[in-house]
């Protein structure tokens, strides 16, 4: 069912959720940079549409540092304790569709035979309210990986920005409708006239602070989708036999081996397990890790199967576009473009795959 909601009312809703003690995450501007971060109030929410947040909402479902359990060391005795950081109910507001899609993708690996209960619990407690995209930048390539600016996968509620600050609300899941039930003010949407017959703009909503929305909002039908950057079939055809292809060293020669692509990517999910503590007490925690780092596959004997940086870049491309889809089904990539957006030397997935597709007959 779809209703409509003014941006101002959404702001009030966000403030309600925060007041009810829920952790609300959304795009906000920090030092001039658009990042998903926890919102202290609705005023922090930044609905700029022609810029994509430089990180992803992955941290809500899969935090960069998460305590697995605690340990207390005694003499010939050890006590393991449940990690006491409670997992609070989370709401993500104005997520991009290419972020929301990470849930259905990561569910596969985190439930492959062994159920990762902490991930699953966060997943249950998280409601994702997505804002369909009407703009894209040079790095977006969702359309090249089978996704779209209004791809509903993973979203509990899909918002479509209409003109004059009105949002069309489509609740896609039970969790989503519970969140928005009875809270939509159903203002008549001037341009499309599709809003349900709600009463006129009531006094208090009129003078609410209107959140900053980019002026030129066009209706979602003529929203622009990014052009196709590469032919996915050609890429997968190349990957099927191209592991030893001589061009890999050239394709990734400028890669510096940092983790900016992996850590801002919605679907990269590799992690490290470390013990942290001093003396008799500590925690065993899980931290983000990335196949781009040298120690990731370093054996105790000193042997490293992937000693060269281009081997590591090749592994990242293979894991996303061949290994994961073959083993679990979906691509391990939603086309958000953050890897290129954040790469200090302009690499990331799209440029490499575009180069591959261009040179594959």
């Amino acid at each position: 069912m779809s209703e409509s909601l003014s941006i101002a009312a959404l702001g009030k809703l966000v403030d309600c959720w925060i007041a009810e003690g829920r952790h609300v995450t959304g795009p906000r501007r920090i030092n001039g940079r658009l990042l998903y971060a926890r919102l202290d109030s609705a005023a922090d929410l930044d609905l700029t549409e022609d810029e994509r947040p430089r990180n992803s909402i992955k941290q809500v479902l899969f935090p960069r540092h998460e305590e697995l359990y605690g340990y207390k060391l005694g003499h010939k005795r050890i006590e393991l304790t449940e990690s006491e950081t409670p997992i609070a109910e989370q709401i993500v507001v104005a997520a991009r569709p290419c972020d929301a899609a990470l849930g259905p993708i990561l569910d596969h690996v985190f439930n492959w035979d062994y159920k990762d209960t902490q991930y699953n619990r966060r997943r249950e407690l998280t409601t994702i309210v997505t804002l369909a995209c009407r703009h894209h930048d040079a790095h977006c390539f969702c359309t090249s990986v089978g996704s779209a600016p209004d791809d509903p996968r993973g979203s509990d509620v899909m918002l479509h920005a209409m003109d004059e600050g009105i949002l069309e609300v489509c609740c896609l899941t039970e969790k989503g409708s519970r969140l928005f039930a009875g809270r939509c003010d159903n203002l008549p949407s001037p341009s499309s006239g599709r809003g349900a017959g709600g009463e006129g703009i009531s006094g208090d909503i009129a003078n609410q602070p209107v959140l900053p929305l980019t002026p030129a909002i066009s209706h979602r039908e003529n929203g622009t989708a990014p052009p196709r950057r590469f032919d996915l079939d050609k890429v997968q055809e190349f990957l099927a036999q191209g592991f030893e292809d001589s061009r890999w060293p050239d394709l990734a020669r400028r890669c510096l081996g940092c983790g900016a692509c992996a850590y801002t990517c919605p679907t990269c999910h590799c992690f490290d397990i470390v013990d942290e503590g001093a003396g008799k007490e500590g925690v065993r925690a899980r931290n983000w890790d990335a196949c781009q780092f040298v120690p990731f596959t370093l054996h105790a004997s000193g042997h490293n199967p992937r000693s060269r940086q281009n081997q590591r870049q090749r592994q990242r491309i293979y894991h996303k576009f061949r290994i994961y889809p073959e083993k679990f089904g979906p691509l391990l990539c939603t086309g958000c473009g953050n890897c290129t957006r954040n790469c200090p030397v302009g690499l990331g997935v799209a440029p490499v795959l575009a180069e591959i597709a261009r040179n594959t007959p």
């Binding site: 030092n31 990180n55 540092h65 040079a138 400028r254 900016a260 801002t264 931290n287 954040n342 440029p351």
Partner: protein
Amino acid sequence: MIATLRETCRQLLSDGKVDVVIGYGHDAAADGAEDAPVYPVFITKPEDAGRLVWNDRCHANLAVYLKHEEIRSLGRAAIIVKGCDQRSLVVLEKESQLDRSKIYVIGIACDGLDRPKCRTCDVHEPRGADVIIGHKAAGTGYPCAGGVPSANGTQGLPDTLPDDRYAELRAFLARPSAERLAYWRQELARCVKCYACRQVCPMCYCRRCIVDKNRPQIISTSATLKGNFAWHITRAFHLAGRCVGCEECSRACPMGIDLRLLNLSVAQAAEENFAFRAGDDPAAEPVIGSYAIQDKEDFIR
């Protein structure tokens, strides 16, 4: 200017003087496109020299590649450097990481890429290069890049050169220490430990970084505030008297953390205590690697 750059490199490659030119370029297919993304390229064939460009998006400090085995395996290298990048070569040579005689340095005159460092730049024309592309503009005393259009029409040259590289740092240090700690607490809370600040830095050439060593694990690898403070204190201090201020670490940070103040604080300490500025004098001993009997300080009782 771009034409002379491409011609110089084509000549070097065809003469066999160098096997690879490390420069700035873009996709062959995107030549001429106004906002085509610029990134480091490694030209090995003379006919590819056409991919080289020079514009106001050539930020990378290419000296970082001289330590990579994948580049060294290509043979003798020519490297295109701006004035700030060229300083890194001086430091790397002094720390015996590169043999200056084995690389061909193409200096490129640059009047600023709209970065904070450019406002107080005094090396518009790189020193110690084998050849310089672009030349000193007559009369103004500052080299002009010739070819980099700038908004205000004066070739983007700063009209007055603020004499103090550390003005911003002094303002920051004037704030109370609790406020400074709170600032870093708020900034470093965003750090996700992707180590882009380490990987883009030509000075970070350790085969295995201290943060990747676990006996002992003196720096926590977790992206908690504790781990982030320990990491950024270590990274900044390892640049004392070595950081040339190319500001690639701040540009590369995906979470928008401005690390300049930390680099400036150790640079200022080296300059005010030991009159040492990284990359200035090829003969000067590295400040942290050497000592002087007459070093004077006022805090050791």
